[in-house]
Symmetry: C2
Subunit: 267 residues, 2 copies
């Protein structure tokens, strides 16, 4: 398939209207329970406008504040360039529907091909069971559309909550790729960083609602290969607030992204 | 002492000019090597304007993009409120000197006294040697002014780089409080999150320059008591980019903040 055929590229496409203004379309394909689109998908849509405006493909850091839920349908993206340096360009995308800003996305973009300097790594990819021993979401018509966008296989020890037996440890790990085979790239990293179920499901007596307030994704390398491995965890759920920390690793056993979100836990 | 007498409150004070505009003054007291002010201090100054504008004291998440170094002297802070909800208010502060935006600060603020919901914690404060076995920075006139703002005692196993023997592990831990006795509060958390020396010093052959691109601080509780304990580490230095993750703990053994910054490593 070509990238143009992919669900992700089709659904994050933005049309440049000039003057930093873009127009996109929030697709129903990425809806979660309740009908709002997945937050990571929306961030990738905003990031695409930042990439087009700044002409740099990679986002060593992108932060989104979620102000109000997005809806399926047209979305305006207004980009303000804050600074364009030799190495880094910084810009803000306001994602607007019905005249109301729904999501604020601020990114610092670069070309990672030109990155140079010290490399010193202390850690490797998550220790996952082989793909064939991991579990895919059930083929259940009651699940929201976003489930169908991914081919996801989760470590069975981290998804006991699905059958009413939460592990007691706020951690979920597994394999993931786009269902249509579209390779992961820098633009897709925010989407993958928000693709797995909420880790809080493993410490709740019954499934709750886990709205994200803020999501920051550090795109550290361009992913290569087919599958990504993801591991997500939270250590501090305090008075209904919690962080969710993630790592994404590619087929070459390299870290490609770190993510952290602050989210609420509602039961 | 009263808070009004404190260095921190004096140096982060902002005067409201109306219409979301504030005026502050970057003090030379917080300068690091090279003369620019400490980044965390600048974020606290911007956060103070957000707190005044939104009327909420705590920042479960605040993110700063550092666009250009600030200078000692007057600074304009322009606040734009993005959304005011029942629970959370979100606003942006543009920190401007000489007509140029130097730092972009975006915060989601609340009143943590009203936070409620699940608490489930998996982790405790860092295992530090007793205060009297930890080391303070030397009383050296060659050190930058910011050193004098803190009473800091570092775990000796994490500061071998000071004497040319980096540990090889990008981790620094220790005790910290304001030198003048001003208690820590939510406003000061970004300052404390950026107070310790760069952890990258432990994996460099010689001291380098570690400019922060983006800093996100999650203020999870209001600190109580005198000393904070901080632990900061990086696991992935890749092509000159690295994350620095931090935790701050208060005297009651409670996590008060998590921080993550993306920074460059230059030698």
């Amino acid at each position: 398939m070509t990238e143009l055929d992919s669900e992700f590229d089709t659904d994050t496409a933005v049309e440049a209207l000039g003057g930093g203004r873009y127009r996109g379309d929030v697709s129903p394909r990425w809806a979660v329970f309740g009908g709002a689109p997945n937050g990571g998908y929306v961030v990738s849509l905003g990031l695409r406008a930042l990439v087009e405006e700044l002409g740099r493909p990679d986002a060593p850091t992108v932060t989104a504040q979620f102000l109000a839920p997005c809806e399926v349908g047209p979305i305006d993206v207004e980009v303000e360039v804050l600074r364009t340096g030799r190495r880094i360009g910084t810009a803000v995308a306001r994602l607007i529907q019905g005249g109301e800003e729904r999501v604020r996305v601020t990114g610092m973009l670069t070309d990672l091909d030109r990155a140079s300097g010290l490399t010193h790594e202390d850690g490797g990819p998550p220790d996952l069971p082989p793909l064939e021993e991991c579990v895919a979401p059930p083929d259940d018509a009651g699940l929201p559309p976003v489930i169908g966008r991914f081919d996801m296989r989760m470590d069975p020890s981290t998804v006991g909550w699905v059958v009413g037996r939460p592990s007691g440890t706020a951690r979920i790990a597994g394999w993931v790729r786009f269902a249509d085979g579209r390779p992961a790239d820098s633009l897709a990293l925010p989407t993958f960083a928000d693709a797995f179920p909420p880790v809080a499901f493993n410490v709740l007596d019954e499934l709750g609602w886990v709205p994200t307030l803020e999501l920051t994704v550090h795109g550290r390398r361009r992913p290569v290969g087919g599958w990504l491995r993801g591991v997500f965890s939270s250590r501090f759920v305090v008075d209904g607030y919690h962080e969710e920390d993630g790592e994404l690793w590619d087929d070459s056993d390299r870290l490609v992204a770190m993510s952290r979100q602050l989210a609420l836990v509602r039961t």
